[in-house]
């Protein structure tokens, strides 16, 4: 799952560094992701993992790192 997340971040997050070398707990907003690119990341994650983020999860912390995205997906997949 982490590799899929990294691939989506590489395509949609517009990070200043390669998403494949980013630490799992690195702050994606500090790495260059804007609020708008986080929407693209969210939509791409929904397509990739066939899920839908509810409004209650549309907060900054849900998408702030690779680890945070992974736990959000795991929570939605339960």
């Amino acid at each position: 799952m982490t590799e899929q997340i990294r691939k989506i971040l590489k395509e949609h997050a517009r990070l200043a560094q390669d998403a494949h070398t980013l630490a799992e707990d690195a702050d994606l907003y500090q790495a260059g992701m804007t609020s708008h690119s986080s929407v693209n990341v969210m939509l791409a994650l929904e397509g990739e993992f066939d899920l839908e983020f509810p409004d209650s999860m549309l907060k900054r912390s849900s998408f702030e790192s690779i680890a945070a995205i992974r736990s959000a997906i795991e929570e939605l997949s339960r």
Binding site: H36, S37, V39, N40, L43, D55, M57, R60, S61, S62
Partner: protein, 128 residues
Amino acid sequence: MMRVGIDLVRVSRIAESLEQFGARFLNRVFTAGEIAYASAAPALTTERLAARFAAKEAALKALGLAGRGVGWRDIEVLHGAVGPELRLHGAAAQAGAVELALSLSHEGDYATAIVITQLAFTRTGIAA
């Protein structure tokens, strides 16, 4: 207390989202009224959507809601008689705003929005 929020959006990025995600992007972020208003001026549709996206982000900042889990459609831009206005729904409507003012602008590839609000109460632990 008074709070202010500002956001700046590149119009071309909104165009890319529309190309990549189409109706999913449109319907997730914008209300039917916002889509209708933007679509009414085909030459300005993307600029209007970009300014509205900036307004939603500026409102999240002003209201201190970035860390709270609010859908974008819960912050709606209406086209009032004297210009754009904000209407809050759902969780955004619970943020304590007693006054809200919005100003939008776009030029070339950039759209921006400023929101000023008067909050009836303050919260702690806001990660705006």
